[in-house]
């Protein structure tokens, strides 16, 4: 197919086949994927409990220190969310308390793998927020015509990020720590500002692409930094899924559907320069 010639004729009469295929995959996911996920989370919890010591990470002090840098701009998200899509976390609206918690993010007492879990949960919450807000805006007609595939993408990605957040929060809860319900305070202000500028599907897809890239690269970077095998396994089971989100987003945007530079050069190895 010539990229320069748009000969698309739409989709004629075979939607049911794709729907059936997706249904099968969804059933497979719930039959196989979810039990496997919770098994993995349980394993991680057990391993963290048994871990004699948490290895400190010298890779950027972001896990412990970013709070101070962003405290002044840690007012969290005020956009109303569609309650149907706010599954993983109750996104905090601005309040003195939430700002205080953000300033201390990750919460004091979380070190090593548990601190990483908190950051991961906050990134997933941010993704949940962004997709929820995007779907709400779409429903309200603020993004113009939304292609059905884009809506399905957003809905499915939102559900998966919800599960990712739940997994990390299950780890925290099992270790006697509070669940992370706030969005990542480092990125939230900028995401909020960018989201306010979104007026169409392309803008939303680009914002989602950025968030997915940050998440994927963060998980990738942490794979070599986490101490427990179970934590590595959980992180590694999520990173490829974020990468898949990225591939489909590129496709929707009409760009090559794979890892690439901002200039569009394809990459055989995923970078980590956008990891937080």
């Amino acid at each position: 197919m010539n990229k320069n010639k748009n000969k698309n004729t739409g989709f004629n009469g075979t939607e049911s086949e794709l729907v059936a295929m997706t249904r099968d995959l969804d059933e497979l996911h719930h039959d196989v994927g979810m039990p496997a996920m919770w098994e993995g989370v349980s394993s991680m919890i057990d391993n963290l409990r048994d871990a004699p010591a948490v290895r400190s990470t010298n890779r950027r002090t972001f896990l412990m220190g970013v709070g101070g840098a962003v405290a002044g701009s840690a007012a969290l998200l005020s956009v109303g969310l569609n309650p149907l899509h706010a599954g993983a976390a109750t996104i905090q609206k601005p309040s003195p308390k939430s700002v205080l918690r953000s300033a201390a993010f990750p919460p004091a007492g979380l070190k090593g793998d548990l601190a990483v879990a908190a950051v991961a949960a906050s990134l997933e919450n941010l993704a949940v927020y962004a997709y929820s807000a995007g779907l709400s805006a779409a429903t309200a007609g603020k993004l113009g015509t939304v292609p059905p595939a884009v809506a399905t993408f957003a809905t499915t990605a939102l559900a998966q990020h919800t599960q990712h957040a739940q997994a990390w929060n299950a780890v925290l809860a099992a270790n006697g720590k509070a669940k992370v319900t706030e969005v990542n305070p480092t990125l939230a202000p900028t995401v909020n500002a960018d989201f306010a500028k979104v007026t169409n599907v392309t803008g939303l897809a680009n914002l989602a692409l950025t968030l997915e890239t940050i998440a994927a690269e963060t998980y990738q970077a942490e794979t070599a930094m986490l101490s427990s095998a179970a934590a590595i396994g959980l992180s590694s089971s999520i990173q490829p899924v974020e990468m898949q989100h990225i591939a489909i987003l590129y496709y929707v945007l009409g760009e090559y559907p794979g890892a690439q530079t901002t200039g569009g050069a394809t990459l055989a190895f995923s970078p980590i320069n956008q990891a937080v």
Partner: protein, 286 residues
């Protein structure tokens, strides 16, 4: 629309503009272990592929010259079966060699697929054609990276394909004999999908199994790329099965025409599974 997603990047530490920058994590990781004598090739796909194939020419000559995949059924890759077995080297070396063997098989498969008119010719779908070429080169780079890491640990490089999966490839290849373009494309996509998923699942598992953090980083930098291959192939397969090959396109407006289900068919699981992962020593050098 005035969104500037790059505003987020102001929070980030490094430029993302250059290919060299993007490759730095992997290169730095390897540098810790090995005197990388193929570092120049990493930045050039063609040179890299040539380097890669220099090690494999003896294995894949007949496959490369086969006019049709059908002609290769059972002949080319089966010969490698006897030469791979459990190795006595360290666990990381064996895992790296197994990964290289999977990459070798993928390279051979894509290379052969590109000899088929409905994949490799100018009449083929442009997206599918580019995907096959780019992906083949990426697998060649992955193989070289795994082999460099294995060699740095004192192991041998793996130049042969994973023996356990060779019969699968051969069977699939044989099934393409006499296939129409549509059937053949679906067959190739299905085979590639299976190989890519095995690679992705294996590397997800390997990030846990390997002991060196450097090797963990290497596997982590590749597993997501393989998962992206899977996502693309799932989407392509779904559109082909639905009789909508015209939507396998990067042309403007395509997204608006895609069926709703196409938006999610590429990522069926919230957590990447590992039940199809290759055993760690399956492709180790004897």
């Amino acid at each position: 629309m005035n969104v500037d997603p790059r505003a987020l990047n102001e929070l980030l530490e490094e430029s993302q503009d250059l290919q060299a920058d993007a490759l730095r994590p992997t290169r730095d990781a390897l540098d810790e272990l090995v005197d990388v004598n193929c570092s120049g090739a990493e930045t050039d796909a063609h040179e890299n592929l040539a380097f890669h194939e220099g090690h494999r020419r003896g294995v894949f000559t007949s496959l490369a010259s086969a006019p049709l995949l059908a002609a290769a059924g059972g002949l080319t890759l089966v010969g490698a079966l006897a030469s791979s077995a459990a190795a006595a080297s360290s666990q990381d070396i064996q895992i790296l060699q197994t990964a290289a063997s999977i990459e070798n098989l993928a390279v051979a498969t894509y290379k052969t697929a590109l000899t088929l008119p409905y994949i490799g010719s100018s009449s083929a779908n442009a997206v599918v054609n580019k995907f096959a070429r780019v992906t083949m080169n990426q697998h060649a780079q992955h193989a070289d990276a795994f082999n460099a890491a294995a060699r740095a640990l004192g192991g041998k490089i793996q130049t042969k394909p994973d023996p356990a999966f060779v019969p699968v490839v051969n069977k699939a290849v044989a099934s393409l004999s006499g296939a129409s373009a549509a059937q053949g494309t679906l067959g190739v996509v299905g085979l590639a999908l299976e190989l890519e998923n095995i690679a992705a699942e294996t590397y997800v598992k390997d990030t846990v199994l390997v002991r060196s953090s450097t090797n963990k980083a290497l596997f982590a930098s590749i597993m997501g790329v393989e998962a992206q291959h899977v996502a693309v192939l799932l989407a392509v397969q779904a559109l082909l099965n639905a009789g909508a090959p015209q939507l396998i396109s990067l042309a403007p407006g395509t997204a608006a025409s895609l069926p709703a289900a196409a938006g999610s068919v590429g990522f069926p699981n919230a957590f990447y599974k590992t039940n199809s992962a290759a055993p760690a020593t399956q492709g180790a050098v004897k």
